[in-house]
């Protein structure tokens, strides 16, 4: 056998998690001279979303504590991206995973999960991710010896992935030269982890959390905290400001990002950019770093693309 491969061949898939590019969004702010927005493009992760970070940290830490292996099944609830990340990593590592997702998540996500070989349990679509979470918890309580219940909403490994990874990358990519860190909250892992690190190293950077404007929304991955099961890891005392975004505003931004920046992202990325723009308008500019949690491919079946602009 010839094994004379190029010098950098042989990277493992999982080593490609993290170290995502920080993209400058120029067109979005072309009419706003004092405003700069930079986005961590998390769609460059191998599983296609920011949740690769949390999932791989959760799994690594569980391995260290001996919570996985011996045929234990990884169990968690997710709106899709974490599920995809678990499914991919478990495929690589040879673990079984069982994922509870609301039946109304994008069909493309369900197909991806099936492709990765994960077990799916679909929960009541009327109850959203809260319903999925309740069901996963119930399953783990009933058969604790069968599962490793990863519980991304309450697992410290989730925010630590961002504290040790995303935040450090942002700081090295910017030297801390920005005014606002803006992130949408689902589990709150991204916001909490990055914000904790920034508070330690650059406390003057303002930390902004973004939520949907109400409990009934189409921003997959985000949560309206006052109307949901509150994630244990979400620390809202880290937030200097808070911005609400409507689904329609976020969708408009998603279309503009595709059509002006050539960036195909999901609705929660749109929400992040809308929040940056709102603050910039209110405070007369500023430099922003935000996180674009995933790409847009999984949402192409959505009706909001039909609008021409």
């Amino acid at each position: 056998m010839r094994n004379n491969l190029a010098y950098d061949a042989g990277w493992s898939l999982l080593s490609r998690i993290g170290n995502t590019p920080l993209l400058a969004l120029r067109k979005m702010t072309s009419d706003m001279p004092g405003t700069r927005i930079y986005a961590k493009a998390e769609c460059f992760n191998p599983g296609g979303s920011v949740k690769d970070r949390a999932a791989s940290k959760i799994i690594e830490d569980a391995e260290k504590q001996g919570l996985l292996g011996n045929g234990r099944i990884l169990l968690d609830a997710s709106s899709g991206n974490t599920a995809i990340a678990y499914a991919m990593i478990c495929a690589v590592k040879g673990y079984r995973c069982r994922l509870v997702i609301p039946r109304n998540v994008a069909r493309e996500k369900i197909e991806m999960l099936t492709a990765y070989g994960a077990d799916l349990v679909l929960s009541d679509p009327l109850e959203g991710t809260d319903g999925a979470q309740r069901l996963a918890r119930k399953m783990s309580e009933e058969e604790p010896e069968l599962y490793f219940y990863a519980d991304q909403y309450n697992n410290d490994s989730n925010w630590r992935a961002h504290y040790e990874g995303t935040a450090v990358e942002i700081v090295s990519q910017t030297r801390g030269h920005f005014d606002y860190f803006v992130a949408g909250v689902g589990t709150g892992g991204t916001f909490t982890g990055v914000s904790r690190y920034l508070r330690e190293v650059f406390p003057e950077i303002k930390r902004v959390s973004v939520e949907p404007d109400g409990p009934f929304h189409g921003l997959e991955g985000l949560k309206r905290m006052d109307a949901s099961i509150r994630p244990g890891i979400y620390d809202d005392t880290l937030a200097d400001m808070h911005v609400d975004v409507t689904t329609e505003e976020a969708q408009g931004a998603v279309r503009r990002l595709a059509r002006q920046e050539g960036l195909l992202v999901g609705p929660s990325s749109g929400a992040a950019v809308v929040a940056c723009l709102k603050i910039a308008r209110e405070h007369g500019g500023g430099s922003f770093v935000t996180v674009f949690p995933d790409g847009g491919q999984k949402y192409l079946g959505e009706k909001f693309w039909e609008v021409k602009e």
Binding site: N104, L120, L122, L126, E127, L146, G218
Partner: protein, 474 residues
């Protein structure tokens, strides 16, 4: 038209924390505008400023996304349900084929097996299996298939539960004696697993109805114990391209195989022609140990589940022979017979035939009246002390249970070697349990020169019924 509208959790605070409201209207739009007419909060969440439904709200009428119906103008009917599902892309609210929480609980031991898992369990849920006969083999088969989560089970049976069935037909209980087997089986199955869909065929499977009954199922399991049905089921499965999970039992021995003519031999490749009628006693005649159908039937159930999952090595092309007394399994390799009349290279059977006739049981093969005698007439002759020799051709264990007083005893298989014990000059009446084996004996004796031999119609069963009600039965 009163329609139920299911409210997603985030909106429930606006409708008094209910999960559903009812409203009138002829179309989806009308219903939704009636629901929101008096509720500004709800309206603001569901509709945009121009009165359009917000674009991330997916509306399902029963199980269908109205985007694929007539959108807002889709007509609604009394008793319909509308679901409002916030969604990023067209997720499906469709129920039925999905896996539910209850399924996880119920099948957790299956889900642990990599060979089954969730995808395998879903295959089981979607599978349609036909079980022919709810008797000895059918009992364990039905119980285990239902417990394992086979989604749709068809049952063909026209019989009623008899007291003598309880020794081995474990799906039926003593309280069911006299009841239709199909009903008693259904009740037990529902008790084990109410999610199983049962399709009942309360009829004898015949050449006329077999194709219609079988065609909608994926796998057919033969749990019958007579030759005409066995050939009928085989031929129907070959013609329809279905898999036939075969089992048979007799006394302490059983056989199992899987016949799939697309991949291997069929039953006719193994046994091209049926045995002469009467030669091979049925369980009703020869007896069967009660545990045996449990063993053979559960092997059939195991093979069926493997076939559904597409896992393991099915018994296609192999015949397993089981001997309970020796507690030994033997395996024979079966080959497809190129001259097989149904599945061979030049098949001669292209449609279902008359299997009673094929197995020599047709009317043309019945003994003519002058070769038969009724129980009443024999009784009269015996009471009148006419010189009649009564010959019992059953097995010794049957003889121990009951007999017609004064009869001679030569089991049918011993008859050729012991026929010299009889005289052609005598008037002889032959009986067995039900008249099958004795008619075979009568024919044999006629052929070798006994002119005055006749068959007791209906055998000792008929005798007990008509002449001697005090007689022990079996």
């Amino acid at each position: 038209m009163s329609v139920k509208v299911m409210i997603p959790t985030p909106l429930r605070p606006y409708v008094g924390n209910r999960d559903a409201v009812t409203a009138d209207g002829a179309t989806v739009d009308e219903v939704l505008s009636n629901v929101t007419a008096a509720n500004q909060q709800l309206k603001r969440h569901l509709f945009d400023d121009s009165g359009q439904l917000r674009n991330f709200v997916n509306v399902y009428l029963n199980d269908e996304d109205i985007r694929y119906l007539q959108r807002g103008t889709t007509p609604v009917h009394e008793g319909d349900t509308i679901f409002l599902i916030p969604s990023i892309a067209g997720g499906s609210s469709g129920a039925g084929s999905d896996f539910t929480y209850d399924d996880i609980q119920r099948y957790s031991r299956h889900l642990l097996l990599p060979e089954v898992g969730l995808s395998g369990q879903l295959k089981l849920k979607r599978a349609k299996v036909l079980v022919i006969g709810a008797g000895g083999l059918g009992s364990p088969l039905l119980l285990y298939l239902a417990a394992a989560g086979v989604g749709t089970i068809g049952i063909v049976d026209f019989d009623v539960v008899d007291f003598s069935n309880l020794q081995r037909q474990v799906i039926h209980s003593e309280k069911d004696v006299g009841r239709k087997k199909i009903d008693s089986a259904e009740e037990r199955i529902k008790g084990i697993n109410p999610t199983v869909k049962i399709i009942k065929f309360e009829e004898r499977i015949t050449s006329e109805n077999a194709l219609d009954i079988i065609k909608n199922f994926d796998i057919v399991i033969d749990g019958t114990d007579n030759f005409p049905t066995r050939y009928l089921v085989n031929d129907a499965c070959v013609l329809l391209g279905k898999t036939n999970v075969y089992g048979s039992i007799y006394r302490f021995e059983g056989q199992v195989s899987v016949f799939d003519a697309r991949k291997g031999p069929c039953y006719r490749c193994l046994y091209e022609n049926p045995p002469p009628p009467g030669l091979v006693p049925s369980c009703a005649e020869g007896g069967v140990v009660g545990v045996l159908p449990g063993i053979i039937g559960t092997i059939q159930a195991m093979e069926t589940i493997k076939l559904i999952l597409g896992e393991g090595e099915p018994l296609i092309g192999r015949l397993v022979l089981f001997d309970a007394m020796k507690m030994k399994f033997k395996e024979l390799t079966l080959r497809k017979n190129p001259r097989c009349p149904v599945c061979g290279e030049n098949p001669t059977v292209h449609e279902l035939i008359d299997y009673e006739e094929f197995c020599g049981l047709g009317r043309g093969n019945e003994l003519s009246d002058d070769l038969s005698i009724s129980a009443e007439e024999l009784d009269r002759k015996l009471k009148a002390k006419e010189p009649v020799v009564v010959l019992d051709v059953r097995e010794p264990q049957e003889w121990e249970i009951n007999r017609i007083d004064g009869s001679l005893f030569i089991p049918v298989n011993d008859l050729p070697s012991r026929v010299s014990e009889l005289s052609t000059a005598d008037e002889i009446v032959v009986y067995c349990k039900g008249g099958q084996r004795s008619s075979y004996a009568v024919r044999f004796m006629r052929d070798i020169g006994f002119k005055k031999v006749r068959n007791l119609t209906g055998g000792i069963v008929e005798w007990a019924l008509k002449v001697d009600p005090s007689m022990a039965r079996y």
